[in-house]
Amino acid sequence: MRPFAPSIERLQVSMARRRSSRPGEHRKRGDGRAAILFLLPDFVGFFVFTLLGVIGTLVISFTHWDLVRAPTWLGLENYRTLAGDPLFWQVVKNTASYTVAVVPISTALGLLVALGLNRRLPGTVVLRTAYFAPFITTLASAALMWQWIFDPNRGLIDSYLYMLGVSNPPAWLNSSVWAMPALIIFGVWRQIGFSMVLFLAGLQSVPRPLLEAATVDGANAWQRFRSVTFPMISPTTLFVVIISTIGSFQLFDQAFVLTSGRFGPDNATNTLVGYLYQKAFVDLNMGEASATAWALFIIIFAATIIQLVAQRRWVHYE
């Protein structure tokens, strides 16, 4: 019996040592094999649809390809064609004017609503829920609803304008002048809730004692907002502006649905993504469509960089 005791002891010791040395062993060996297994499902999809997608768009943008004949190499020709296409510049202008209108208006209104709701009046949750509803509704369905509201004969807006005595109210989506304002109204309606929700979260970070101190020092409501609240929530504002800008440049669903796929009279509400869609899936011009995709990326990227550079002038970090 005796000889076994030390061996059991030794076994226990060695087991204990092995256990205690495990984390160290891990650090040395790494978890390479486990990592491959854990990453595999994600990376198959990532590789096929994201990585190959990005590289694929780049390569296709240098070719002429109609999906019928084999692609032929064109070099930078597609980009030159784009730059020479007045319609391309029109959709850039349309998308940019939509963004320049919707982002500031919806950000400002969202902030105002958030400031109002932040007073914690009764019914705040109901109000917040209602204001946010447009943002979660299906874009395409909401656009169908607004198509009726913008109807120039019996739609809600023009009916009231008639009643108010406007004899010749805008034809909205049927007018090349008023189609874009209609799209902007829709965009603001939808986007207010998004900025409101982010501002409501941002306003939680404004310290009450600071506001109370400002009040004691005789600051009025506007001064308190200018000097305390606005600087404190400026990082939130930057985030809202950047995310809304990126989203606005990708405008498509509502532009498509509001004019039943026609993108307005005379392309008045055609957008960068609309142009891409038509090039690719109507004209079957994969090369120019891919070049458009890169143009879209470059424009969004540039807009984001500009905002990140400009933020130094107005965003306040603690």
């Binding site: 997608g53 979660i136 995709a293």
Partner: protein, 290 residues
């Protein structure tokens, strides 16, 4: 002494009165704003309950009398609404479940496993987030076509089985989970799969719920991708069905608003029931709904 007390008292009361007045003004403004936000919904529903004659009347009616269900009957007769719902439900549920799995596994690897090149790989992976989804639209379509998944459920689902954003969101959350539990589990001989399923996932429930809400909303609302891959009317999803309604009814607003109501109402009901989670999920991530 007493006079200064009275002054303080008076200003305090004045301030309180002014506060109440401001509250009242703010309230009125909020209600006006609210009205303009929800009026389109009200008008949609009331128009859907009107006959063509009522819709054609000069003054808009918000409470139509008499109510009529004919528009709904007509829509249901002419288009397979239930089928659109079924398609959207199948596609959104599969995408959500698949993404939850792929994203949480990859997030576990990025947050917890040590392997060579992890930070480089993660940077490359995350870097693709700056690329708008439309950039990959054409190659994705070509791949789906090559796989003969064009005009199938598989085609609707495939590109969304993986999401860099969901992975990123979960990884950030996993990093905040203390390692104590895992260290204890590892001493007891647990392997990575066990740590992932029995410790990390249960502790990450709030983050997983956020991913579920955002993913489900995004895939339910997706319009461009179904527009590109689906031709058969029977495979249309709810957002894409809007084009079918437009083709079918042109500018017959009664049936069109019935169709719009049918496609918006369930989303709104689910949203109202879960609004706390939806709002928090979107406030937390700054995403969703597109």
């Amino acid at each position: 002494m007493s006079s200064s007390g009275a002054v303080i008292h008076r200003t305090a009361r004045g301030r309180r009165l002014r506060h109440v007045a401001v509250d009242a003004v703010v309230y009125v403004l909020l209600l006006i704003g609210l009205l303009s936000v929800i009026l389109p919904f009200v008008y949609m529903v009331s128009s859907s309950l009107e006959t063509a004659v009522q819709i054609g009347s000069l003054t808009p009616q918000f409470v139509p009398s008499p109510l009529t269900w004919t528009n709904y009957q007509q829509v249901a007769r002419e288009l397979p609404i239930a089928r659109f719902y079924l398609n959207s439900a199948i596609v959104s549920i599969i995408i959500t479940v698949a993404q939850l799995l792929t994203a949480s596994m990859a997030a576990y690897a990025f947050a917890r496993l040590r392997f060579r090149g992890r930070s480089t790989l993660f940077a490359l992976y995350l870097g693709t987030l700056i690329i708008p989804s439309q950039v990959t639209l054409i190659p994705n379509y070509l791949i789906v076509r090559e796989l003969h998944w064009h005009d199938t459920y598989a085609g609707l689902i495939a590109p969304f089985v993986v999401s860099v954003f969901s992975t990123f969101l979960l990884r950030q959350f996993f990093l905040t989970i203390p390692t104590d539990y895992e260290d204890a589990a590892r001493i007891d001989g647990a392997n990575h799969w066990q740590i992932y399923t029995r410790i990390i996932l249960p502790l990450a429930r709030p983050a997983l719920a956020t991913v579920v809400i955002l993913t489900f909303l995004a895939s339910w609302n997706n319009f461009l991708w179904p527009l590109v891959v689906i031709d058969s009317p029977s495979l249309k999803t709810v957002p894409l069905s809007v084009t079918a309604y437009q083709d079918q009814f042109a500018i017959a607003w009664g049936p069109l608003m019935a169709a719009a109501t049918l496609s918006l109402l369930p989303v709104l009901i689910v949203y109202v029931l879960m609004q706390k989670y939806v709002v928090e999920g979107i406030a937390l991530s700054g995403q969703g709904g597109r």
